[in-house]
């Protein structure tokens, strides 16, 4: 067996590895889609669950997840984008900046269940927010921060230095340069980062287990201090805690969650590739 045979066999092996990674993804999406689409109807996504959640729809859970995602966006975007502007444009290369970077790496690595414990300890109990939307939103927002900061920083750094120097040479202050030149140029990348962060928040279960999630609440929340049902938690509950749950309802819930998350993912991919092609530098 000569070298070129070895290479051929090797490349076939690598191709098989890549297929082994990708194929199961398609299988998961395919099975959830085929099984879930059977139960899909207008009633399923617009009605309140009844008969011990076995009948009716999952409307409150959908609204809950959308509310949590929206709230997370409101809390996490200013802090996340501000943090990335600081790191990309203002931070000097000193120990303080390294500490911030280390903090971000660690925030990204903290297990989601530990965020749940933190949210319970700080927001729910210590700050007396109770199990509420606001406690969950704050927990999710802190969890989302590292994703938003690191992707936005990358987007800001990819804007060439010349853009800043030209702005400064025309008499603009540093902030004017950032606001009018750098941020608009980096915006597509920042939006992509925000969507990727929010997508993670929308799909997470562990951080909301003890901070927001209601087991069964067949009405919509009235205030930020209400509990709310959420899709990921609802899927967990009906697939493990409720005996005799029809499988089709479980698959249907999984499908709605998957569609929500994948469409966000799709939008992020489209924005990124569209602007990458249009970029003039």
């Amino acid at each position: 067996m000569n070298r070129s045979h070895v290479q051929k066999i090797g490349f076939v092996f690598l191709t098989l590895c890549a297929i082994a990674v990708v194929a199961p993804i398609l299988v998961v999406i395919g099975i959830v889609f085929i099984e879930g689409v059977r139960v899909m109807s207008w009633e399923f996504i617009s009605a309140v669950p009844h008969e011990g959640m076995k009948e009716g729809g999952i409307f409150p859970a959908i609204v809950g997840t959308l509310l949590l995602t929206l709230g997370t966006a409101i809390c996490a975007i200013p802090v996340g984008v501000g943090g990335s502007v600081y790191l990309a444009e203002y931070a000097k290369d000193n120990w303080m900046t390294r500490a911030i970077r280390l903090a971000i790496v660690n925030l990204a690595g903290i297990p989601s269940i530990v965020y749940g414990l933190f949210g319970l300890g700080m927001f729910v109990l210590f700050m007396h927010m109770g199990t509420s939307i606001i406690a969950g939103v704050l927990t999710l927002a802190i969890m989302t921060l590292p994703v938003i900061i690191s992707t936005s920083e990358e987007a800001l750094r990819s804007v060439p230095t010349e853009f800043r120097t030209v702005s400064a040479s025309l008499g603009g202050t540093r902030w004017q340069g950032i606001r009018n030149i750098v941020l608009p140029q980096a915006l597509p990348g920042i939006i992509t980062g925000i969507i990727l962060g929010l997508l993670r928040a929308a799909g997470e279960t562990a951080p909301i287990l003890f901070t927001v999630a209601a087991f069964y609440l067949p009405r919509l929340p009235q205030s930020p201090f209400d509990q709310v049902m959420a899709l990921p938690y609802h899927l967990y509950v009906i697939s493990t805690q409720v005996p005799g749950m029809p499988l089709s309802v479980q698959y249907g819930t999984a499908l709605v969650l998957l569609i929500l998350v994948l469409s966000m993912n799709f939008v992020a991919t489209i924005i990124r590739s569209y602007f990458r092609r249009r970029r003039q530098w």
Binding site: I31, V32, P78, A91, I113, T165, A168, G203
Partner: protein
């Protein structure tokens, strides 16, 4: 801290800045708040650790060390041996890395070195989709599709085993491993490849004898980050590993139920009274998880920063 209006940082900006400052109060306000926000991340890490300590530290004097690090976890009888949980987490994590490392590195090599452009453009978004699938959906899929397969194929009494969990975890850490390993391969200078090819090596020999060894520290980082992801994963693991708190000590344990630290917190926290010993014990496990992932990420971050300073040349 320097909240000066004209910060004399070493950027090109300052050199070309006109003498007359036209900054206004609002600008000062914006720049200060950006600084505050920048530093806030450190505050969040500290806050998280403080609150874990506040709620979890009592367990270390409420209960004897022999009890905490014992081999039996029966909270209802005040037996809080965390060893089976720690070992359970370690067992599942190591098993998942054994699956994910070869698969991830080979896929990264394929994407970066071998695949034609169009294949790459299909593979990369798909891998990103995998990163986006919520863990509870994967856990649900694992319960209903993978666990029955494991049970029938291995003739085991249950399909909810450490192996099922490791399989799911492997796929959940693959996106991290692949993208970090890809960056590492990308950072290997083209001249290395050119030199090897010029010496008459095939592409295959170049990859495995030159490129991958040159990228090994980046690949090690990929594995560390993948491990961090796997240890912290909660929902999928809780749904498919069977959650029996026993010591996984032999190879056979791979095909028996285990229980991880994360699953224990998630499953039991809902039922305990806040302030009870059991409550403190669960926060104690949280402290252990925090410290564990902190050090894993510290090691990984060291490697990442080093790469940045050396400009990717190893």
């Amino acid at each position: 801290m320097n909240f000066n209006l004209a910060p004399n940082e070493s950027s090109t900006l300052t050199m070309e800045k006109p003498k007359a400052e036209r900054s206004t109060w609002s600008e000062f306000l914006v720049e200060s708040s950006i600084r505050v926000v920048g530093f806030s991340t450190i505050g969040f890490v500290v806050l998280i650790f403080l609150f874990l300590l506040r709620e979890g530290l009592p367990i270390f004097y409420e209960v004897s060390p022999g009890n905490i690090f014992g081999t039996r976890w029966y909270p209802t009888f005040d037996i809080f041996g965390s060893l089976p949980l720690i070992l359970g987490s370690a067992y599942v994590t190591v098993a998942s890395i054994l699956i994910a490392l070869p698969l991830g590195v080979c896929t990264a090599v394929f994407v970066r070195e071998v695949a034609p452009q169009w294949t790459r453009e299909i593979l990369k978004p798909l891998i990103e989709v995998l990163a986006g699938i919520p863990s509870v959906v994967l856990g649900f899929f694992g319960m209903h599709v993978i666990a029955p397969l494991v049970r029938t194929n291995l003739d085991a009494p249950t399909g909810l085993t450490a192996f099922t969990g490791a399989l799911l975890l492997a796929y959940m850490s693959l996106p991290t491993i692949i993208s970090v390993a890809e960056d590492a391969l990308d950072a290997v200078p083209k001249s290395y490849r050119d030199a090897a090819l010029a010496m008459g090596a095939t592409k295959w020999q170049t990859i495995w004898r030159i490129v991958v060894p040159a990228a090994r520290s980046g690949i090690a980082t990929a594995v560390m980050l993948g491990m961090g992801r796997a240890i912290g994963e909660t929902m999928a693991v809780m749904m498919v590993t069977g959650n029996a708190a026993r010591m996984p000590l032999s190879f056979n344990s791979l095909f028996m139920p285990v229980r991880t630290m994360t699953a224990t917190i998630a499953a039991e926290m809902g039922e305990v009274a806040s302030g009870s010993v059991h409550y403190h014990a669960l926060f104690g496990i949280g402290i252990m998880l925090f410290i564990l992932t902190f050090f894993i990420n510290l090691v990984a971050a060291k490697a990442i920063f080093k790469k940045r300073y050396r400009g990717g040349l190893r």
